[in-house]
Symmetry: D2
Subunit: 150 residues, 4 copies
């Protein structure tokens, strides 16, 4: 059950958009890794990570940890986009399959809300390299919790 | 079934120890985040991440993505410690519960091999803050795959 | 990478269809629980479980274990539908979110292959009650392994 | 944080013990599969499943769905054992690795509470066949939620 007053087909209100971007700015790890916002909509968030040589695993592909940070953050903001302004979002848990080596110049994580409840939200996220939809890099299924005044 | 000639109770051979450390050095993300080796044993690896202000989420705690990178890498090297020298390890998937806010000065991930097969290895890892065993930060369960000449 | 000669848009060959149904028949737990086949296509399998009072948890809803059996089996046969005839499929691991109480007269699990490799296949499955798409009962993300002559 | 008045080293109070057994009795799927209680302690529950030919997968081993039902139920009652009497437990999600074929005459799932909070509990469970600790059948990591009057 989606509980937000934001319709899923519309755009975020300017207040929700500003709130999400402000929270993203406060996540210093995202800046450290170079993660930026590609798109914020109610129940659907796309974040982007450009390749950098200092984000790799032992074979020169982007590290699963950086790909996971990208997908987890996209899930967090997709969940937050459907919650009232005064609530914050924490990750309870996630599971990620690393399906192909993360090779490419840019990686996009698209997170969508599967189930938005008052306390718990379930999201799924797919990470693609340079829009190569035929070979997804990673697939995440995450549980998030809304905290704070309800 | 653990297939390595390394006994689980002994120490790594100098060759295995050097091989793991060399692979860890090649993971540039680990250097970027400040992750270092605390202990390498057959089937059990401990990695460490000191707190840094540029690794945080929106509330000033260490980001789930950095904690996950720490735990995933510990699982990878625990798996590799029981494989023959010519085999590399890739992460197939992992699931992590974020159980407490990652507050503290240092975070330690201890990964242990639960099941080591020829192709697939299952590891579990626990992340503690400053050795505060009473309130674990995160718990991971991971599947890894050995690739290369067998 | 999907490796089967079955096109994803076509139907299963009569041989593949017979092979899957024969394997399903051999899974005695499915008969015990009353699980039947709704649809078998390349890379997409739908299985069905009618409500029964002897499959419930403490509040009279269908038990997570029965819902999981339904989803896991759908994933297994979706994976097998894209593998050559001589290969069998084993479940490596899965993760399932139970999103709503399993109330209804019939439950359908639809599993789709996200990534089909030579050894490992990743599937995702959604379980709906009586086609109530607005409130999915469960979401699964699974890893399966092909074994036997390749 | 473990919130129950039951000490973790002691036994369950007679009331808690009776409450858990009564809830287990109401889970009709457990009776259908033949799952029984081996041990109930605060934060640690052992359930048992004897082999039956009508609980198998295609190769004659016990089906992952039955093993998962066993482990999930053990996690649920381990979580409930640390909650006040008026609260019920629902499974939020779990992840399970199937590590060895489930062959044997009896399967035991031992679930332990890793983190018990007011709302969410994290458990881990291991399934062994006939006490063959060297080759665990399955490993589960689960999130459960307490509901009802707090």
């Amino acid at each position: 059950m989606r509980t937000s007053s934001d319709g899923l087909d519309g755009a975020l209100s300017p207040e929700q958009d500003a709130r999400l971007r402000e929270s993203i700015r406060r996540q210093t790890l995202l800046t450290t890794l170079g993660i930026t916002v590609a798109s914020l909509e109610p129940g659907r968030v796309v974040l982007e990570l450009p390749f950098r040589e200092d984000l790799c695993q032992q074979n020169g592909f982007v590290h699963a940890g950086a790909i996971t940070t990208l997908a987890d953050s996209a899930c967090g903001y997709a969940a937050m986009s459907l919650q009232p302004a005064e609530r914050d979002i924490l990750t309870v848990e996630f599971k990620v399959n690393l399906m192909s080596p993360a090779r490419g110049r840019t990686f996009q994580a698209t997170a969508t809300v599967v189930r938005s409840g008052r306390t718990l939200t379930v999201c799924s996220a797919e990470v693609l390299a340079d829009g190569n939809a035929a070979k997804p890099v990673a697939l995440m299924q995450a549980t998030l919790m809304a905290v704070g005044p309800a």
